[in-house]
């Protein structure tokens, strides 16, 4: 039986702001779709482009990275580096013809539970609209 595949979203959240923001969203019972799965990283600067590509390779349909607001990084400067790295990677993915909306970077503080939930909700909607991510397939492997 063919099971309908729900779009799968991987969210990388920095421990100090965004993961805490996600916890706050939970404490306040703010719903967002269950297909968002969070991976805790110490800082947005810990997110290696490899992880993002790996997620797509293994079937993720959208990847979102959340960190402290610029200037508020727990480690002072981590999110500034992350911003450059992620910007360049996103640009490259778009250049390769991968839909721009499949990846997102958002700054969510520990106090922004509502923003976290709203962000995940809107991102999940965008990904649902885009459907399954097929764009990284190799022509030779196409099923």
């Amino acid at each position: 039986m063919q099971i309908e595949k729900k779009p799968l979203i991987v969210a990388f959240c920095c421990n100090w702001c965004s993961y805490a923001g996600a916890d706050l969203a939970g404490t306040n019972r703010l719903n967002y779709p269950a297909n968002v799965k969070i991976i805790r990283v110490p800082c947005s600067c810990r997110v290696n482009p490899l992880f993002i590509l790996k997620a797509f390779q293994r079937g993720a349909d959208g990847v979102i990275i959340c960190g402290c607001h610029p200037g508020d990084c727990h480690y002072t400067t981590g999110n500034y580096y992350a911003r450059r790295r992620i910007t360049l990677l996103f640009s490259m993915l778009s250049y390769l013809g991968i839909e721009k909306n499949r990846v997102r970077l958002e700054w969510v503080s520990a106090a922004e539970g509502a923003k976290f939930a709203a962000t995940m909700q809107s991102f999940a909607e965008e990904i649902a609209e885009l459907g399954e991510c097929k764009r990284l397939e190799d022509l030779r492997c196409k099923k």
Binding site: L8, V10, N15, W16, C17, Y19, A20, A22, D23, L24, A25, G26, T27, R29, L30, N31, Y32, A34, K37, I38, I39, R40, V41, P42, C43, C45, R46, V47, N48, P49, L50, F51, K54, A55, R58, G59, A60, C68, G71, D72, C73, H74, Y75, T76, T77, G78, Y81, R85, S109, A110, A111, E112, A117
Partner: protein, 663 residues
């Protein structure tokens, strides 16, 4: 392969309500390497912890996965519990199935499925965990308190009394803060100065306390136990070691028309000034923006009259760098700008004042010597209207969405004292809600109404219209009567919202301490760790964390002090073992990691490595100082060869989580 035990917590119905915990335990029991899987009512309870410990011993577990609340909540609890059973605490992973699953999803099938996936990710990660041992770092046995109001002073005194050195950094010329401006304190009506000034003197005289007044924090480096802080001592143009505080200069200075900040601009001070009689340190300060000598080079009166020869026009700002083991933030508050709410006419009439201005008008050391007089014409006001919630509980751009907490009580105090001193005065208080929780607080408010005859009106003021005859036409609603009231008042007092001091935002950045959307510092846990910031070694005292009255502030100041003392008594601190490490066989020596490290934790050395042809070749390789590294991981992503990795959040661990989630 690790032998892994899985423990699924019900958290009462918090998790079990939307997640079928039995199924989760059963499904995760089938994962590779899982030798034991169970569920339990409250995993964090003593019985729950015992269950885990017994399982570790019985099944010889090498790794533990706990499916429960956020790791930010109980990771430490479970690590400690496992350590007691002989398992390395870093062999424990927590799957967050409460905050990030059961609490946000309603459908049980959906919640259960997600919980299983989150559990799988944790299992996949724990397979790659390695036992970690925490290192140690020394503790500098001195604390820094930023802000010299009642919060900062109380914290400093408590820490100093425990025998540790404390530095207070205060941006104004004197310590004392807002409490020094207040006349009486609720609900006992003691004189604020009478209870505050002895504490100021205690601070000045305490051998362990060092006050840097007229100073600001320039930058903060380091980490818990080992902060290094640069303090900018602003030039006073007065030699502190010589000034006796006699005040002759402040009487002779020819620049007389500078609005006196201490009296909320309701009278004037000179260009050289001592903020108030009980100032600590009692040293004159020249205001460089208004001093003729500093601006034009002509004058020098203060220098001529100073018998001690303390005036020094060439003084420069000085940067002092000091080491601290702990930092307490006590930056306090200000009232918001009432000109943004000019339906109340604050900018249009002198007789519309803020509550803090009212304090000065009733204070014996204030501009009127304590007699309540209208600022416009110096006459006694006969009708006074107090307006509550001016900018508090307001979701508009200029307002603050929170309750400022202190206004209900101080307004009751103002109203009561006015009626007591001037029984011929009609006093109206317009309120939305009267909020007086606290010991003897509601009784106090009721006394104002019942004994002192203050008119409390449920409703809000919509417009204050100044009249030609000097009265203020107040248009307001009386919601209980269903009427619009029109009152001709002589004085209108606005209980403006309070907001964190503007300097707090920049300070938070320097401390990498987080703030909420209103610029209040966030606490490490809202209930369980209310005086600690999430940044280790940084503590919170007073209103910088949220609106508070004086008793609460003092209580919190003491709590912060006890946390600091608890830190400073330790000789060594356990470091976070989740730090970066470099594999020198893979390191190219490119220095990329060194560039991005915010702590300077990475150094290079040249070592010889054997080549394929068995010859030796020198190569630069990175090494990480684990006591300095804080584990952000910036270096790991810079490293193309993957030589730099982060323990506890390694590339393979994170990718294993990705794999498990995407399976």
């Amino acid at each position: 392969m690790q032998r892994i035990g899985v423990f699924v917590c019900h958290c009462g119905t918090n998790i079990a309500g939307t997640v079928d915990v039995k199924t989760v335990a059963e499904m995760l029991g089938k994962e590779p390497g899982v030798v034991f899987s169970t569920d339990y009512q409250y995993m964090c309870s003593e019985a729950g912890q015992t269950l885990i410990q017994d399982a570790i011993k019985e099944h010889n577990l090498g790794g533990v996965v706990i499916c429960s609340c956020s790791p930010r909540m109980h990771e430490q609890t479970f690590r400690k519990a496992c350590a007691k059973a002989g398992l390395n605490p870093y062999m424990v992973e927590v799957a967050n199935i409460r905050e990030q699953c059961s609490w946000i999803h309603k459908d049980v099938a959906e919640g259960t499925e997600k919980a299983v996936i989150l559990g799988r990710a944790a299992i996949a990660k724990v397979h790659l965990n390695a036992p970690l041992t925490a290192g140690e770092s020394p503790v500098v046995k001195r604390a820094l308190v930023i802000g010299g109001g009642i919060a900062g002073m109380q914290t400093a005194l408590d820490i100093a009394d425990a025998g540790f050195e404390v530095d207070i950094v205060e941006k104004n010329a004197t310590i004392g803060g807002k409490m020094a401006q207040i006349d009486k304190t609720f609900p006992t009506l003691d004189c604020s100065a009478c209870i505050l000034t002895p504490k100021m003197v205690d601070c000045a005289q305490h051998e362990k306390i060092n006050i840097y007044a007229y100073s600001e924090v320039e930058d903060v480096k380091g980490f818990v136990g080992n902060f290094s802080v640069a303090i900018r001592k602003k030039a006073r143009y007065v030699d502190e070691t010589k000034c006796t505080g006699c005040g002759i200069c402040t009487e002779k200075c020819p620049v007389k028309n500078i609005p006196n900040e201490f009296n909320m601009g309701m009278d004037n001070r000179r260009s050289i000034y001592i903020p108030f009689a009980q100032a600590v340190p009692k040293i004159a300060t020249i205001d460089p923006n208004t001093c003729n000598k500093l601006k034009t080079g002509k004058c020098g009166v203060c220098s001529k009259v100073c018998g001690a020869g303390a005036i020094d026009y060439t003084q420069k700002d000085e940067i002092i760098r000091r080491e601290y083991g702990a930092i307490v933030v006590a930056t306090g508050f200000n009232m918001i700008d009432m000109t943004k709410f000019d339906e109340f006419g604050y900018a249009q009439s002198k007789d519309v004042i803020t509550s803090l201005e009212f304090e000065r008008l009733t204070n014996a050391a204030g501009p009127t010597g304590g007699t309540l007089l209208r600022p416009s014409d110096g006459k006694h006001p006969h009708t006074i209207v107090f307006v509550q919630c001016c900018g508090s509980r307001s979701t508009t751009e200029n307002g603050k969405p929170y309750c400022s907490k202190i206004c209900c009580m101080y307004t009751a105090k103002h109203a009561m004292l006015t009626r007591e001193k001037y029984p011929d005065t009609d006093v109206y208080v317009f309120y939305i809600d009267v909020r007086t929780p606290g010991k003897n607080f509601d009784e106090f408010y009721r006394r104002a109404v019942e004994q002192y005859g203050v008119h409390y009106v449920k409703g809000m003021v919509g417009k204050v219209a100044p009249r030609a005859d000097g009265t203020l036409h107040v248009q307001a609603s009386d919601l209980l009567a269903g009427e619009q009231l029109h009152i001709d008042a002589d004085l209108v007092v606005l209980a403006g919202a309070i907001e964190p001091d503007k300097s707090a935002r920049g300070l938070a950045t320097k401390l990498t301490a987080s703030m909420d959307t209103n610029d209040f510092f966030t606490e490490a846990h809202p209930k369980l760790r209310p005086v600690e910031s999430p940044t280790a070694g940084v503590f919170l005292s007073g209103v910088c964390q949220g609106p508070k009255d004086i008793p609460e502030t003092v209580a919190q100041a003491g709590a912060a002090a006890s946390k600091v003392i608890g830190l400073l008594v330790k000789d060594k601190l356990t470091c976070n073992p989740c730090v970066a490490q470099s594999d020198e066989l893979l390191c190219n020596g490119c220095s990329g990691c060194e560039h991005v490290c915010p702590y300077g934790a990475i150094t290079y050395e040249t070592k010889e490595f054997m080549q394929f042809d068995r010859s030796m070749k020198p190569r630069r390789v990175a090494s990480v100082n684990p006591a300095v590294c804080q584990g952000c991981g910036a270096c790991t992503v810079t490293c193309p060869s993957g030589a730099m990795d982060l323990k506890g959040f390694s590339n393979r661990q994170i990718m294993a989580e990705v794999d498990a989630i995407c399976k």
